[in-house]
Structures are given as C-alpha cells and as structure tokens.
Amino acid sequence: MDTRPLSDMGIGEKGVVAELACGRLARQRFLDMGFNPGTEIEVVGTGGGRGMIVRIKGCCTVALGFGAASKILVRGSV
C-alpha cells in the first residue's frame, strides 16, 4: 500500500509509520520520541493547520510542526 506524509492525514485517521524521510539528527529525534517504523499512529488534532497532534503507541500524545510531520511517511490504516 502506498505511503503518504503524516501532514496529509486528517483527524481520526490511523496508520503505521513506514519511513522517516529526513536527516540523521531529525531521525534520531523521531526515534527517541517513539516514531520507529511499525508504530501505530493516530491523528487526534491539527492545531488548526499549525501541524499535527498525534497519538503513538496507544497512549503518548505528541505535537509536530508542519515541517516535521511532512517527514514522517505513513502507511494505510490499521
């Protein structure tokens, strides 16, 4: 199934982290926060176009700026 950037997803949509399309430094940050490929992700808010508020690993809420969210590629829905 195709992947799409997290920033393209809408509220309530779910998916699985497929790829981190960014440099090493940003990738490390994503990994530390729990965005390792295979992680379930659910969009719970968009902050009115400021970025994305997502829930990962079932319980942890993380806010991402728009730039950050566009670097996380997500696959389908679970």
């Binding site: 530390d32 490929p37 902050g47 400021r50 993380v62 700026g65």
Partner: protein, 684 residues
C-alpha cells in the same frame, strides 16, 4: 565532577542518580526523596541545570543527583550527554529510573539503554493511578524479573511509594552487580558487534573497562560522535586503521540506517516486555486533555488564548508583585535611615558610610526590589510547565515565531522582558535547543524593561508636547520589536546557523500543579539566583560607588569624580550623537539600573524635583538630542543584573561580552542614525 567524586567518598555515603523521561513526575520524585534541601547549579561546561540533594536512610547518607529528563541517551543533545556521562563516569551506586506506568513502551526504551550501560537500576513505576484509570494492569513482579531490577509501584504526586522506594534503593546499594542485559540485535548485527567488541577489548582496554566493550561496540555502530572522539583520544591508530574501516564495511551491509535498525530492535525489546507484563482491560483514552487541547490549540483561539495567558502571567509577575515590591522598598528605606543614623552615631568615616549607604543599601537595593517579581516569575513558569501548558504554547507559537527565526517559547521570555530583563533572560531556560536558547537570551535586552520605560516617559514628558509624548514612547516599543525580529533572524542565520530542529514535542496530560512542588521549585531557583547574581551585583555596585565618590573630596558623581572624568573621556566618542559628558555619566550610572539614569541627571543638574529637572534639561537639549538619547538608552548595555544572568544562562564570558558589545555598537549606530535623519529633516 571532581566535587561529586569527593561527595561520594564521604564515609559510608552512597551516590544515586534519578533518570527518566520528561513529564514522568521526575521532579516530584526528587523533591519527595530529598525535601527542600537542594542545590541548583549548572553541569560543568553546559547550560543544563543540575539539581542535587540528599537524604538519610537507616543511618546512611544518600546523595541524590537529578539527571536531566531525556527520552534516550544518544550524543545528540547536551541533556542526554550529561545524563549518560554521569552514569558512566561517576558510576552511581544506584540509578533510580522513573517510569510512567501509563506510557510504558516509550519509557522502557530509555530503561533498555540504561540496562545496556550496566547501571544498577531501581525502577520507580510512577503514575500507577493514571495507568489504572486508562485500564492497564501491570504485573510488577514479572517486570522486575525481566529487567532484573526491583520495581516499586508509586504515585509520587500523592506521596505514595516513597518508603518502599527508599528501602529498595538501600537494598540495591548493598547488592552485587547484575549480569549485563543484552538486547538481541539480530544475527548479522550481533556478529559485527562481537567482532567489534573483541577488537575494542584487545586494543582499547581502559575504555572497554570504563564503558563496557559491548556498549562501545553498539555506540560505534550507531555512529556516536562522542564515543568515536573518546576512542580517537585513546589511540588514533585504532580508529583510523581498523575501526573506521570496520564501520564502513558494516555500513555497506546495513546501509546508512544502522541507527534506525538499532532503535527498532530496542523498541522491539521494550514492546516485548510490555506484551508480557501489561494487560489492557479497556482502551480508555485521555478525553479531558484531548478536549482541552481542542480549545487551547484551536485554529482561531490558540493564539488569542496564549496571549491572554501571557498577559495574565505579566500581570501576576509585575502588577501582582507591586505590593510586595512596595514592602521591600519600604523596608530598604527603613534600613537605610536606620543605618544612616547609626553610622552618624558611631561617627563612622565618610567612606564607610558612603560604601554602606550608596553601594550596599542603595546599589544592591536597586536590584533587590525586583526579587519579588523574579520569585513570582519562577512560580508562574513552574505552573505553566507543570500544568502541561508550556508544551502547547511552543506548538501554538511555533509557526509565527519560526518565521522570525525564533523558538515558539522565545515569545514568553520577550513578554517577561517587558517587565524586567533579568527574569526575561531566565525564562529562556525553558527552551531546550541550545542555539534557540542562545538567540533568545542575546536578544532579550532589546526589549525595554519597565525601568527603561520610566526613562522614556520622563524624557518624552520633558521634550515633547503631551499629545505627541505618548507616540514618542510608543515609537521606542515599535523600534524594539522590529529590532528583536531583525537581530534575532540575523543571529540565527549567522551566529547559530544550521537548520532549525523540527518541532516534535510531547504533550503531557494537563494536570493541576501541587503547591508544594511550586514552592520548592520557586524557593530553590530564587536562592540560586541570589547566590550567583548577588556577588556580581555587589561588586559592580561598589565599583560604581567608588567611581562616583573618588578621588576623595569630590562631589558625588561630579565633574572631578572618576565617573565624571570617564564621562569627559568618552565625550568625543559621544559627541556625534550630541551627548555631553553629563549625558555620558548618566548612561554609565544606568549600568547600575536603568531608572538610575533619571536620578543621575538630578545629581548632575543639581535639581531634585522631577518637573524642575525636566525644565532644566529642556533648556540644554534639543528634542532631537533627547530622542537620540532615548534610542541609545533603549539599546545600550542592559543593567548589570541582566549582564549577570546572561553570563549565568550562556555559561560563557565570551557570549556575555558579545551581548554587551553588540548592544553598545547597535545603540551608537541607531542614535547616530536618528541624528542624521533628524538633521536631514531639518530638526536641530
């Protein structure tokens, strides 16, 4: 670091460290263990806050160091490096790893790394109540068995579990080393790790002994800059001749994503534990926090609500603090008059009474009156952070501020700076990214504090018609805002280049901070501020007093005093701006505290009353000169209390001198521009 080593060697005392993710109740745990007696300082060489304290348990003294809250232990951030180095180098007897029971998998990612470092762990499994509410049941015995470490269920915010935790810590201090936990990185990688391990053991045995060969091997595969540097330092040949070659080969096999592969395995390990120990009853979600987020990060309401909260913070810190400031001022007045009559009574020599009255009481007092504001600010910031709002503020302001090259949280320090730059600079501490914080610290002085506003209002009143005066003062604010964004952008681009880190920030569930937590935080921060900045403030106050009173016999601040001579010496430099020596002297006094500028004019013109002074000055200066003077006052060196905190927050004399230097140059250029443009437009 030498100090902690010495502490550790105190007879029979033990050293423990607290490690854990941010937002897990780490401070609460630390406060609960150590009580009010805490030391706050910086870790050597970096601007990462270090908190330490101690407690007694069964006749044993236990030193506690609170490591910075981190999600991982890589070499990418100062926080993580500090935490990691402490564990490796100081080898604490026990590392208490606080783990959020309601967010187990992500927390165990750090736990896994701590175990891989062979730390002696005690797991403080905090927020059991939240986990319970969300429908998780955790088999703590099984968790303890898998991690080979005692697990203590806790609700730190309600004081539950501390007795058991102390007991577990003490037990663990006595116990013997546990076998090293090995995450299985898969057959191919494990083979590489093994080879690398043998290589390191054979050629860099002191390092292997200190860090553990397997850990070094994994870190090398993760391309960890600090470890590569440490190995090069030990023996360049080992790295260049064989390790580098070795790692290149590994990269050929695994691609450039070895770090990804390793992180994935660690998460796999953490996930495996979660599956074994957690049973989910229902999937209750965080409705309340989510609903609040829908309002507080709302497209239309987000920024107005943020501004409202900022306005309320400003009101609390400066308007709410006003009565306390008045009390402090009153007290200082009483102390001054008491001291004066006492000094007269004992016939003290004039230098002694001058030193005590002018330097000590008045000079230091000028700064001391801001202490209530500073305390309130600490309390307000602690409230914003503990309640969970600060993370939302960074998110809400990120896009607007990023356009100006600033961090979302920099806005808070700028607003606070409008009241006083001292707490303004300190508020920048909440920004974790080094370069973002530095920029926020360096530009804060561009925001006119209330003391400078006083000078503007005074001069505008003296030189401009009442209907224009307000606009004149407003133009200062406008100029300040423009400069904040221009200079901020320039600094970000040229002094701290590099792409801004992507905003990825955890939004912890909202909660009401406890009064006790706020009180301990405020008290310790204020204490640390008084101890650190106090010395510097005292020395400068004495220096200014000395310059104004000597050589002996001169009029205080007069033409023959050293400060007067300095004023004359700088006159040629200031002449293009239209400033005479008196104006220059007033500016030097302004270093003490900006509102002192007016008092200094009073002394220099021999007029005490404000209205008369305004009239006297209007005789000497033209409005254009006054405007140039206002611009200069807006921009030149901040008061020395601010300089003291810039030093404290940047942890560098170089950057402190830079801050002072660039402001002086900017002030001169801007004032000169005012004179040039003014003359061109036909004003004198």
């Amino acid at each position: 670091m030498a100090k902690t080593n010495r502490d550790k060697k105190k007879k029979g005392s033990k050293l423990i460290a607290i490690a854990g993710n941010p937002n897990t109740g780490k401070s609460t745990l630390f406060n609960g263990l150590t009580g009010v007696e805490q030391e706050i300082g910086n870790w050597p060489g970096v601007t990462v806050e270090k908190k330490s304290g101690s407690f007694d348990c069964k006749g044993k003294r236990i030193q506690v160091v609170d490591l910075p809250g981190t999600y991982s232990l890589t070499a990418f951030s100062a926080d993580e490096l500090v935490a990691r180095n402490f564990i490796v180098e100081e080898k604490p007897d026990v590392v208490v790893n606080i783990v959020d029971a309601s967010n187990l998998e992500r927390n165990l990612y750090l736990t896994t790394q701590l175990k891989e470092m062979h730390a002696n762990l005690v797991i403080a499994l905090n927020m059991m109540d939240v986990a319970e509410r969300r429908g998780f049941t955790i088999d703590t015995e099984k968790l303890s068995e898998i991690l080979d470490a005692p697990v203590v269920p806790m609700i730190a915010s309600k004081g539950k579990g501390f007795r058991e935790l102390r007991k577990a810590i003490l037990n663990e201090c006595k116990s013997h080393a546990h076998p090293l936990l090995k995450v299985d990185y898969g057959r191919d990688l494990e083979a590489k790790i093994k080879e690398l391990e043998d290589h390191i053991s054979a050629h860099a045995s002191p390092l292997a002994e200190k860090y553990g060969a397997r850990w070094l091997a994994v870190k090398l595969l993760e391309n960890d800059k600090e470890i590569i540097r440490a190995i090069k330092k030990q023996d360049t040949d080992i790295y260049d001749k064989s390790l580098k070659n070795f790692m290149e080969k590994a990269e050929q096999i695994f691609g450039d994503s070895l770090d990804l592969h390793i992180a994935d395995r660690r998460y796999g390990f953490a996930n495996g534990i979660v599956r074994k120990v957690v049973s989910v009853r229902s999937t209750a979600r965080r409705r309340r926090s989510d609903r609040l987020d829908q309002v507080l990060t709302n497209a239309y309401l987000g920024i107005p609500l943020f501004l409202l909260i900022m306005f309320m913070t400003y009101q609390l810190v400066f308007i709410g603090g006003a009565p306390i400031v008045a009390i402090v001022e009153g007290l200082l007045g009483v102390i001054a008059s008491q001291a004066e009559s006492f000094l007269l009574a004992i016939n003290a020599p004039s230098w002694a009474s001058g030193l005590i009255l002018s330097a000590l009481i008045e000079g230091v007092g000028n700064v001391l009156v801001f202490l209530p504001n500073i305390m309130l600010l600490f309390a307000a910031i602690a409230f914003l952070e503990d309640s969970g709002y600060m993370a939302r503020a960074a998110f809400v302001m990120d896009r607007v501020m990023a356009k100006m090259g600033l961090h979302g949280k920099a806005f808070i320090s700028l607003v606070i700076g409008l009241g006083c730059n001292v707490p303004g600079v300190m508020a920048a501490r909440t920004i974790k990214e080094d370069s973002d914080r530095m920029v926020a610290v360096l530009i804060n002085s561009l925001v006119p504090c209330s003391a400078r506003m006083e000078v503007f209002i005074f001069l505008a009143g003296a030189f401009f018609a009442p209907q224009v005066a307000g606009w004149v003062v407003f133009s200062m604010l406008l100029m300040s805002f423009v400069l904040v964004f221009v200079i901020g952008k320039l600094f970000r681009k040229f002094l701290f280049p590099g792409e801004a880190a992507p905003l990825v920030i955890e939004l912890p569930p909202y909660k009401l901070p406890t009064l006790k937590g706020l009180a301990i935080h405020t008290w310790n921060r204020t204490k640390a501020f008084v101890e650190k900045a106090g010395t510097f403030i005292f020395i400068v106050a004495i220096l200014i007093w000395f310059l104004a009173s000597y050589p002996s016999g001169v009029e205080y601040g007069g033409a023959e005093s050293y400060i007067g001579l300095l004023g004359h010496a700088f006159e040629p430099l200031m002449a293009p701006l239209g400033f005479d020596w008196k104006a220059t002297v007033a500016l030097i006094f302004g270093f003490l505290a900006k509102e002192v500028v007016i008092a200094a004019f009073g002394v220099l013109y021999g007029v005490g009353e404000e209205a008369t002074l305004q009239a006297a000055m209007a005789q000497v200066w033209t409005p254009l000169q006054a405007y140039a003077f206002m611009v200069f006052t807006l921009l030149y060196v901040p008061c020395f209390a601010t300089v003291a905190v810039i030093k404290q927050e940047t942890n560098s004399w170089k950057w402190t001198l830079f801050a002072v230097g660039y402001l002086l140059v900017l002030a001169w250029l801007a004032a000169y521009a005012v004179i040039l443009v003014g003359s061109f437009l036909g004003y004198a």
